[in-house]
């Protein structure tokens, strides 16, 4: 049976280190869902996974599987499947024996094992690879076997630590599709660690952003982009090109550009964030339309990167090639209220 993972106020500091790797991280992954832990390298995301797997001991906090604390359990009694960045197939075993490993350790009936192995080989599109050795497989094939191996014993939770980052981009896309398909079949609760935001939003239904050991935000992908919880999250997701200082009030944000309409729970001093693609070159006046002077234009072929100055604020925007702007042009820019978010300074 698959079960949920609850991580509660988890702390971790490496011996001898001054700064903690993880600070009071609390994260709930309901049974059957997929959460990606997204963060830059050194953010503590692999340590988090390692603690859940039982390979690293936390300095504080708790990890619960199906509501039961597992901190005192060694890895082999946590009922997990883990896939690491490298496939780490056992070189002395065949593909089928690798996949069967977890079941054999649990003493599963031989007929059941054979059946399950065949089923999983089909699922990862490697039928007929039963008696191959791991050294005869390509990197992508090895990682598929590793995935099948982790899932074979129907573990309660599947943990993936940057599983595709060693593969080339084309293959990475295929693997994301495979993982989604496997999840549809198996329904295993999945915790997925990655530094690639496209991978995180592709594979998971929830994304937890980890920055410098702090859990900055845990939300569905769309909300992450639309309503980043902090400047750090926005920066990591590439949405901090326009950050304008001002003060948030109910229904509006006062800044150098004037009083802009928007909907934000934020109150008081903050930063207004708007993505370059969200800014629209308008042809008439209205609410949230600001006059600006184009200062620089770079033709990227598919689009133009434009900088425009408005009341001493430099706005970054992108336009389609059909809008030929030149430095010095006077333009009106519309900042759509639904595309605006405010974070603390």
């Amino acid at each position: 049976m698959t079960s949920g993972v609850s991580i509660e106020t988890l702390d971790h500091t490496y011996p001898g280190a001054t700064a903690p790797t993880l600070r009071q991280v609390t994260l709930d992954v309901p049974a059957g869902t997929r959460t990606a832990v997204l963060g830059p390298s050194g953010s503590g995301k692999s340590t988090l996974l390692s603690i859940v797997a039982g390979l690293t001991a936390p300095t504080g906090g708790d990890v619960r599987l199906a509501g039961r604390s597992v901190l005192r359990l060694p890895p082999h009694r946590r009922d997990l499947g883990v896939v690491f960045q490298r496939p780490l197939l056992f070189p002395h075993l065949t593909v089928a024996e690798n996949i069967a490993f977890g079941m054999r350790m649990r003493g599963t009936d031989r007929v059941v094992v054979r059946h399950r192995v065949a089923e999983l080989l089909d699922a990862v599109a490697l039928p007929g690879f039963t008696d191959r050795r791991s050294t005869e497989l390509s990197g992508g094939q090895q990682q598929r076997v590793a995935l099948a191996r982790a899932l074979a014993a129907r573990p309660a939770v599947l943990l993936l630590d940057e599983p595709f980052s060693a593969l080339d981009p084309q293959l990475r896309g295929d693997m994301r599709t495979l993982l989604t398909d496997l999840h549809r079949r198996e329904g295993t609760t999945t915790l997925f660690v990655t530094h690639d935001r496209d991978e995180a939003t592709d594979v998971a239904d929830h994304v937890a952003v980890l920055v410098d050991g702090d859990l900055a935000q845990h939300a569905p992908p769309a909300q992450l982009f639309r309503r980043p919880a902090s400047l750090a999250v926005a920066r990591f997701l590439g949405g901090a090109a326009n950050a304008i200082a001002g003060t948030a009030h109910p229904g509006r944000f006062d800044c150098a550009l004037g009083s802009l309409r928007l909907d934000t729970p934020h109150r008081g001093p903050g930063l207004l964030l708007v993505r370059p693609r969200a800014i629209v070159v308008a042809d008439q006046d209205g609410p949230n339309v600001v006059p600006a002077t184009v200062t620089a234009v770079t033709d990227r072929g598919t689009h133009l990167d434009v900088q425009a100055a408005s009341a001493d604020v430099i706005l970054h925007l992108t336009t389609g090639p059909a809008t030929p702007l030149r430095p010095g042009d006077e333009v009106s820019l519309w900042l759509p209220p639904t595309q605006l978010s405010v974070v603390g300074r």
Binding site: A57, G60, G61, D62, L73, H76
Partner: protein
Amino acid sequence: MTAPVPRRPLGTVLTRPAVVLLAGLWVAGPLLPLAVQAFTDQWFYPDLLPARWSLSGWRQALGPQSGLAEAVATSIGIGVAVAACATVLGTAAGRALAWHRLPGRRLMELVLLTPVLVPPFAVAMGAQIVYLRAGLADSVTGVVLAQLPAAAAYTTLLMSGVWAGVDPALERQGRTLGAGPWRAFREISLPRLHGGLVVAAMFAFLVSWSDYLMTLLIGGGVVTTVPLLLFATAAGSGNQAATAAIALVAVVPPLLLTALAARQLAGGDTALLGVGR
């Protein structure tokens, strides 16, 4: 809630002093009695302690009629010659194995390994007559030549590993900047080989320092090295104090050289096989 640190996943945990003590006992166990025995005079069975401590064993071992000083000089001379030749041969062959495409490479490697696998005295007995006819038997030169293949096999093994860790592109870069092949080797690769060369030379020296049978058969008892003297004293004299004293003298260079080179020794060095055989 503060979580307890989970138990170690496998096995028990030995503490540091226990580990060091056990390892120390194992290594020093048989060697310490040597150190005691060398300073005894009359030590009758079954006394636990000798009746008299004395330096008489040392006096005999170091005295003029024992010939230990000459044996040490001979051993060092042969060892240095073997180390020099084997290191040069091994450095060249190691570079070829690590950097070059060689026809019949597997066969070459096998040939170079034979001195490691075939007991050397199978060769020494056959070679004795050849050395006799060539006028090399009973001579230091003959002993150096007889010890050389085994030593060269180990230095080649070791140096091919060291060369594999040096980037050939650096020498190529040097050549484009106007260095000839020899200059490029001397000024670019050689400094990077330094640690490996020291270890290789040390191993070759120790292979020579330990050799007994080759020296006995080719040296014909005329070339007396430390192992020959030790064996003769141990088997023939019955003087345990003198035997222990000579053994202690013989054990110093290996221990000293290994301790000095400890930092250079990679854990799994295959060349370690050769030492002390």
